[in-house]
Amino acid sequence: MLAVHGLTKRFGGFTAVDHVSFAVEKGEILGLIGPNGSGKSTIFNMLSGALVPNGGSIRFEEREIAGQAPHRIVNLGVGRTFQIPRPFRRLSILENVVLSGFYGQGRRSRAKAFEAAERALGLVGLPTDRAATVDGLGAAALKKLELAKALATAPKLLLADESLSGLDEHEMDQAADLLRRICKELGITIIWVEHIMGVLMRVVDRVMVLDHGEKIAEGLPAQVASDPRVIEVYLGTQAAAVSAVAAART
């Protein structure tokens, strides 16, 4: 469904993403992990059109989308969420999502946009009444809104950017289950960028690991977790932190 070849992005002399290639199959969840500054968000921004790559190709359903405008990529069927939620505070919750449902699906009809919005809000568990405003929403609800906005565009491929940062463990599990349901029940392919390893490993089908803009590992979660290079650059610190938390809880 998505085939990326030799994707490269430089900011001045700094190469944020260096010849990264990967493919995503229809119906899977691909986890994208790596330490801060490893190029995860840069890849996302290129896939969604927010950044123009310096080299390489991005083919989505046999069509080259590298360097296309963000609104066109959305309308081709690639939806995204932002790492830090970016709701429109002057619009109500429903209007936020209706906007996506209308402009993200080729501006077909108002009625269809409202339908899509109500379905998306129902799925993530947010109120669909017209008066509900964004102002009262907490961190978890804002992330749900971000997801609903992306879903209302009827994506074939969903780019979920660090959906779980800032949530407590219960909320994290809920959100992870939601992503799994979106993939398996709605048939939406997902690329999921995440800092938090534990939950991600439980939900994704495959994992890709980045470090300093290069792909260092790719495979099933269990394989990747035992890869010595991955442990060295990334899991080492995380694994220690995870086991520390586990020890504290028992």
Partner: protein, 322 residues
């Protein structure tokens, strides 16, 4: 009751000149209606944070294109006005497209449009052989100034009804935009262009739509002003002071409510008249001074304007009582 209020108010406004025929108040009302329409046109885009200081330019284009087409080409205003609207819309697209394409927003957009105001004023002044320059310009009278073909009427009642109709159309357009998907898109764009694009909105195209609409409406206001007054000068229909006057009136009246610009026009025009009558030539330019001081006070203390704040108060009152 409140559902019928606009219709009752509208009927009263239509009936007014048949009951009350005093020419001076009627003249003031016509002027208020024409400027209300111009201010409403500005607020159609201004309410989305697209602060244009170039609308004096569009108004000037509307007035001068109509008058020049009539005097030089003997083109009836019925064709001249659509031409003027096209000219205004075309100029707006020409200036706004690069701004939107290359993300010139906020203060920088205001500065670009401010330059546009100045340029239109300079062009009108510099081409004085055709436009009369700063001395002003008069459309030629046709059949004693009473002709539908020339859109010239000596009767104030006719002008009042024309201005009233155009003003009502302006409010209608405001409401249409308010209920459209375009409003959702523009509210989103005004907050975060990248996030809006990520929902599928073509940011440049949507901004361009509202700008062209607003500019064309403003050009119509200019043409109407020209046909009614039968005299235009660069300072009264064009330039930076006209642009600033629009912003001021809308901020005073209320930028987020449909009748805000109208309230702004009533207040500013009555204030200017009162100053003119009570101080005469000793107070030339005082209205601008008062505008400036009031503008600062409003932006600081009453950013939603008079009408917007009153509606907020009423909403709060009903909320408390319920």
């Amino acid at each position: 009751m409140t559902r019928y209020l606009p219709w009752i108010g509208g009927a009263a406004l239509v009936a007014l000149p048949f009951v009350y025929r005093s020419p001076y108040p009627l003249h003031i009302l016509i002027i208020i209606l024409i400027w209300s329409f111009a201010y409403t046109s500005w607020s159609v885009m201004g309410r989305f944070g697209l602060v244009s200081l170039g609308h004096g330019g569009f108004m000037g284009i509307g007035a001068y294109v109509t008058a020049l087409a009539w005097n030089h080409g003997h083109v009836s205003p019925w064709i001249g006005i659509p031409l003027a609207l096209l000219a205004g819309a075309g100029l707006a697209a020409l200036v706004a497209y690069p701004c939107f394409r290359f993300r010139i927003t906020g203060h920088y957009f205001a500065l670009v449009t401010l330059a546009l105001s100045g340029i239109v004023l300079q062009v009108i002044t510099a081409t004085r052989d055709h436009t009369g320059g700063s001395l002003g310009y008069t459309p030629e009278r046709y059949r004693g100034g009473n002709s539908l073909w020339a859109l010239q009427f000596s009767d104030k009642t006719t002008w009042y009804l024309i201005a009233l109709a155009v003003w009502a159309v302006g409010l209608y357009v405001w409401h249409r935009v308010d209920r459209s998907m375009l409003r959702y898109a523009l509210e989103a764009i005004s907050e975060d262009e990248d996030a809006a694009a990520a929902t599928g909105v073509h940011v440049t195209a949507e901004k361009l739509k509202i700008t062209v609409l607003s500019a064309a409406m403003t050009a119509l206001a200019g043409a109407l002003y020209c046909q009614y007054q039968m005299f235009i000068s660069p300072d009264t229909v064009s330039g930076i002071s006209v642009s600033l006057q629009m912003v001021f009136a809308v901020v005073v009246g209320g930028i987020y409510v449909s009748l805000g610009p109208t309230i702004g026009a009533v207040i500013t025009i009555l204030m200017a008249e009162v100053l003119r009558i009570s101080f005469g030539t000793r107070a030339v330019g005082w209205d601008n001074l008062v505008y400036g001081v009031l503008l600062v006070l409003f932006i600081v203390f009453l950013p939603k304007g008079i009408l917007g704040s009153l509606l907020d108060l009423r909403r709060r009152a009903t909320w408390i009582s319920s």
